[in-house]
């Protein structure tokens, strides 16, 4: 096959699989042409590093939203994990032990959400709204609402590099790849999709829906904690306002990436692209030198576009389902005229 044709065929397939990919490419191209200095390896690496914590948290959120749930506590989990990391009993431990403690904390926080949602059947919105306050309050209690500097050994995960590649990028890539693999190739991933598509059908099919839901939230908690480790390492300090409003950014990235807020449909690759687009837009705004007020307008516009796009996709699906239903009914009843 002609190499050009082969590349075109591959790009076409990738575009069909991830419709956001051409959007990101066009955005990068447009910004590179418009602003001097944007198209540089350093800047692209800068964008990827900034997007890394968001990608990590968005992968976890994708699992939750795929179950038709939502996790509003992700920003507070990020802060509580950071607060525990900076606390006296933990910060002095060996680096690996600190990371293990924080990851375990993340799983614990996620399990609180997951078990509450799965066992009580209280809407996830309400449960995670409550835990959002609980986790942030606990974080504030631990830090005394003070800024706490992190020692150098805990900063490597955010500022170091391995074989020339920044650690946050490697970590985000590892999370995205393994998240995508679990999502598409594992039993757990298929269960997630089944529960999100129809919880009742999943129960009738004998799937362990409660364990699946609790698992999705636990995974989201774990990845929020990993995002926290990366973010605080980049900042070099734990501050009381860390993670405030972060849930909106994470949810925007996931929804922008094509995951349905009604569950059952989505992709990890879409969430990664969503996070990269949000970060690229943010960087582009700084390069544009526009008024600070425009930043909010653009960010709100992206969120609105994501929600409208999600709604349009849902309507298309509903219309398609309605059409199929009508065809089936006609087929059963025979011709009416």
């Amino acid at each position: 096959m002609n190499p050009v044709t082969d590349i075109y065929r591959r790009l076409h397939a990738a575009t069909r699989r991830e419709p956001l990919l051409p959007v990101l490419l066009v955005l990068l191209l447009a910004l590179s042409v418009t602003y001097h200095g944007f198209a540089s390896v350093t800047n692209f690496r800068n964008i990827a590093v900034q997007a890394s914590p968001l990608i990590i948290a968005a992968v976890g959120m994708t699992y939750v939203i795929m179950t038709a749930g939502i996790d509003l506590s992700v920003g507070s989990m990020l802060f509580l994990a950071a607060a525990i990391e900076s606390s006296h009993p933990v910060v002095g431990l060996p680096t690996a032990a600190v990371f293990a403690v924080i990851c375990a904390t993340g799983v614990g926080m996620g399990l609180v959400n997951g078990l509450a949602v799965a066992l009580t059947r209280v809407p996830a919105l309400i449960v995670t709204l409550a835990t959002m306050q609980v986790f942030r309050g606990a974080g504030g209690h631990i830090t005394g609402q003070q800024n706490i500097n992190l020692p150098a050994n805990l900063r490597g995960i955010g500022t170091g590099s391995l074989l020339g590649a920044p650690t946050p990028i490697l970590l985000a890539a590892a999370v995205a790849l393994s998240g995508g693999f679990v999502f598409s190739r594992s039993t757990f991933g298929r269960y997630i999709q089944a529960v999100g598509s129809s919880a009742d059908a999943a129960v009738n099919a004998g799937l362990p829906t409660r364990r699946v839901i609790a698992g999705a939230y636990a995974l989201a908690g774990l990845l929020a904690a990993v995002a926290s480790l990366t973010e605080t390492a980049r900042l070099g300090t734990v501050q009381p306002s860390i993670g405030q409003g972060y849930e909106l950014t994470v949810i925007t990235a996931v929804v922008l990436g094509g995951t349905s807020l009604f569950g059952g449909r989505g992709s990890i690759g879409g969430a990664v692209l969503g996070a990269l687009i949000l970060t690229t837009v943010q960087t582009g705004l700084v390069f544009s030198g526009t008024s600070p007020y425009v930043f909010d307008i653009v960010r709100g516009g992206v969120l609105l576009a994501a929600v409208l796009a999600a709604g349009a996709r849902w309507r298309n699906l509903a219309q398609a389902a309605g059409l199929v239903s009508r065809l089936v009914t006609r087929g059963t009843d025979g011709p009416t005229a």
């Binding site: 200095g37 800024n147 980049r234 501050q239 009381p240 306002s241 970060t279 600070p292």
Partner: protein
């Protein structure tokens, strides 16, 4: 009714009682936690009871961070010196919650005076009216209140003057030309806007100092880190940064470190930086000579003047002036040794 349907309610009852147990346990644990921490958050400075016997001041803060801790200490020490006790609440940046807390302080705990740091300068007017209706002096510190009709006394910083003071440091800098990155706080926050406007007005038309980039941070450290990194990427010639609050300083330092630009004064790589607030971050950076100046908020004055106003009101005297705007104290490398003792963050750094 079938057997299946008769059994279902039993399961529901069992589940409901389980949930009720959970709720009870969580509530009990929460109350225990509150009881353990109440001495830290709601303790009375004078050691008196919350109502009745001793003159009691109810305090409601919008949030609790480093500067609020210093403001809390200033109120507590001034109240203790005057023989008053203090009941302390935090609204967690929720204006409705703050209104409820103030209502509780006035109507249930029957405090004798109220000091607030308002989460919302407009909404708090209803709380001030409630206090006036109960003949309780109502004082505001740090954040101004839009409608001061029912406010007994108000003392705030002067964000515009602070912004101008920062600009004066830039104008006095030896390095020329200065290419300035200006970080902006929350765009809906009056302090952030005042600090921005004062700075911009003072630099307008001044030769040799150019604002090359304005980046909003929404008072978010991550936004400050990313915004600074992006701005340095866009314009590597940036050699000065205006940071509107010390608590964003670590983010800027991280961005400069990543870009290989964090260097002390005198080093050719040094980026000229000035911040506002005077917290521990600022004082440490001043000591390390990576920060050129810090405009320190006169936190101690807030508590002293508010308690003095309460004493005046209690004695039936008119409180004059009703509103005070306290300018920040300029802390620079030249006066650091002599002045740092007056800066609230340096005392604890």
């Amino acid at each position: 009714m079938t057997e299946h349907h008769r059994k279902k309610p039993k399961g529901v009852i069992v589940r409901t009682s389980g949930v009720a147990w959970c709720v009870t346990m969580v509530a009990a644990a929460s109350l225990g936690l509150v009881a353990c921490s109440s001495s830290a958050n709601s303790g009375s400075a004078g050691g008196g009871s919350t109502a009745g016997k001793k003159y009691t001041i109810g305090v409601s803060f919008d949030l609790l961070n480093a500067i609020r801790q210093a403001e809390k200490s200033s109120i507590q020490s001034a109240a203790q010196a005057a023989g008053y006790s203090v009941v302390f609440d935090v609204a967690d940046q929720d204006a409705q919650k703050q209104a409820s807390q103030i209502q509780d302080l006035i109507q249930t705990q029957k405090v004798n005076a109220v000091i607030v740091i308002a989460q919302d300068g407009q909404q708090i007017a209803a709380s001030a009216s409630l206090a006036k209706a109960h003949k309780v002096p109502f004082l505001a510190i740090d954040r101004s209140i839009a409608d001061q009709q029912d406010v007994t006394f108000q003392i705030t910083g002067d964000p515009v003057a602070d912004g101008k003071a920062v600009a004066s440091q830039f104008l006095a800098a030896k390095t020329r030309p200065l290419k300035v990155l200006e970080l902006v706080g929350g765009l809906t926050d009056q302090n952030a806007i005042g600090r921005r406007d004062g700075f911009n007005a003072a630099l307008a038309g001044q030769p040799g100092v150019t604002i090359v980039s304005q980046v909003p941070t929404d008072w978010n450290p991550t936004e400050a880190l990313n915004g600074t990194s992006n701005a340095l990427q866009k314009d590597p010639a940036i050699n000065a940064i205006y940071i509107p609050s010390d608590f964003l300083l670590p983010s800027v330092q991280s961005a400069l470190t990543a870009a290989g630009r964090l260097a002390p004064i005198g080093n050719p790589k040094h980026v000229f930086m000035v911040t506002i607030d005077g917290d521990q971050n600022g004082c440490k950076a001043m000591q390390a000579k990576t920060l050129d100046a810090d405009i320190a908020t006169p936190v101690a004055d807030f508590g002293k003047q508010a308690i003095a106003a309460i004493t005046s009101a209690r004695g039936g005297k008119a409180v004059t002036p009703k509103a005070v705007e306290a300018k920040g104290l300029i802390l620079d490398q030249a006066n650091y040794a002599a002045t740092s003792g007056q800066v609230w963050g340096c005392a604890s750094s």
